[in-house]
Symmetry: none
Subunit: 134 residues, 4 copies
Amino acid sequence: MLLQIDHHSGVPIYRQLINQVRRQIMAGQLVEGEQLISVRELADQLRVNPMTVSKAYALLEVERLLERRRGIGLFVAGIEKEHGARTKTRLLKETLEKAVLTAVQFGIPQRKVGEMLAELYTKYNSQTRSRSNE
Amino acid sequence: MLLQIDHHSGVPIYRQLINQVRRQIMAGQLVEGEQLISVRELADQLRVNPMTVSKAYALLEVERLLERRRGIGLFVAGIEKEHGARTKTRLLKETLEKAVLTAVQFGIPQRKVGEMLAELYTKYNSQTRSRSNE
Amino acid sequence: MLLQIDHHSGVPIYRQLINQVRRQIMAGQLVEGEQLISVRELADQLRVNPMTVSKAYALLEVERLLERRRGIGLFVAGIEKEHGARTKTRLLKETLEKAVLTAVQFGIPQRKVGEMLAELYTKYNSQTRSRSNE
Amino acid sequence: MLLQIDHHSGVPIYRQLINQVRRQIMAGQLVEGEQLISVRELADQLRVNPMTVSKAYALLEVERLLERRRGIGLFVAGIEKEHGARTKTRLLKETLEKAVLTAVQFGIPQRKVGEMLAELYTKYNSQTRSRSNE
DNA sequence: GTGGTCTAGACCACA
DNA sequence: GTGGTCTAGACCACT
């Protein structure tokens, strides 16, 4: 699991962790039943206080994305399909919103944005495919 | 000036303001010598405490991006900016890239992303128009 | 707001707080829009670390029972009727479950339990009524 | 022996065990000299780690409520108990009182509470029966 | 004044 | 070994 913290972004560390782990789960990079890096180990890796990691994990547990097994560790929970789809849409919308806001602020016409989108989509989609063929 | 505050992102409001104003200046959307919306008015628009706006402006002044003219208001300072369509396109592309990456990771088809884009575009574009009619 | 902590029950303090505040909100003792005792003040009252109180409040915010207004304080959120009813039923069921378990363990027939229930119901219900007439 | 563990209550499992066993002994439901279910078997029944059961038993032994006979097992010790139907009724009433108080606070009608009671009664009663048929 | 975040370090519960 | 809870105390963000 690759996680990165930006100490200067102003975004609380535990929130950065939540966002990254949530995204990995939604993207299927962390699969159901998989055990997460332990609180202490992740805290060591990131040079962060264990409580900070623990807080992030705890909130993901409240979100039902993680499951705790006492004395063993934390695991990726089984997400219901429908719930998963809704979360994905929500997350995508958030990022897309920023892009659109930028475009509107700059007065860039929707047509142009659509073209850029298509271009980028092709680019990343083909990368994914070629990667999955490796 | 179109600014958007997200109260739930965990990013301090004054930082959100700074980032957005700074970006608009760098992209030449706010031009040198242009007067900024007053603290009070912006605070009203965004339903935010005036102190918060004031703080953002003050920090942008420290950054030398803004100039305070006593008794009159704040103005965009004369500094090196990145001009032109190329800069705007670059900035837009950066945000759009994140959105596309998310979509591809989640396996959301381009068609759906296009629809969401159009929807959001309409939403923000109409906001701008109605505001510019006031 | 009357809150009590039992340091010897083994139940985490923040959970005791959550349960008591949630119950007061559901029972209408804390009404929508009402401001809660501040973290620091409650921490002082209960001779407990502020972070412990803060944690309880934060989780109630995640539950959407509380609303935070930055720099001002925490307030009781407006709960949707349907959601409120479901929560009430859930909480009642939890307490009722313990009672039934006790009854079954002791081999007390359902008929007898029903009688005791009716008796207690009459007793407390009339208390409430007479109180509301004061 | 009917024991119920709630993994989400935050109350340590060994404490839940202690409380329930102690109550059964005090109510005379587990009588003096009676042998307790073995650690292993109880752990299996409750899907809990044997160490946890063992710890609960050990602490009840310290309390002098249980007696260990080496190589044989654990037995209910000869101590002062509260006997009889009166005790059972009292203990039941205490738990039932909490449930009724909750219901009245929430304004839930007695009829509804009666229905929930019946439902739960059936649920736990049938569990006991099916288990006693094993 | 309000709440939020983080740390260092202690101790508990569970496997 | 795992995660959970709590403390004391520092500093930040916001009104």
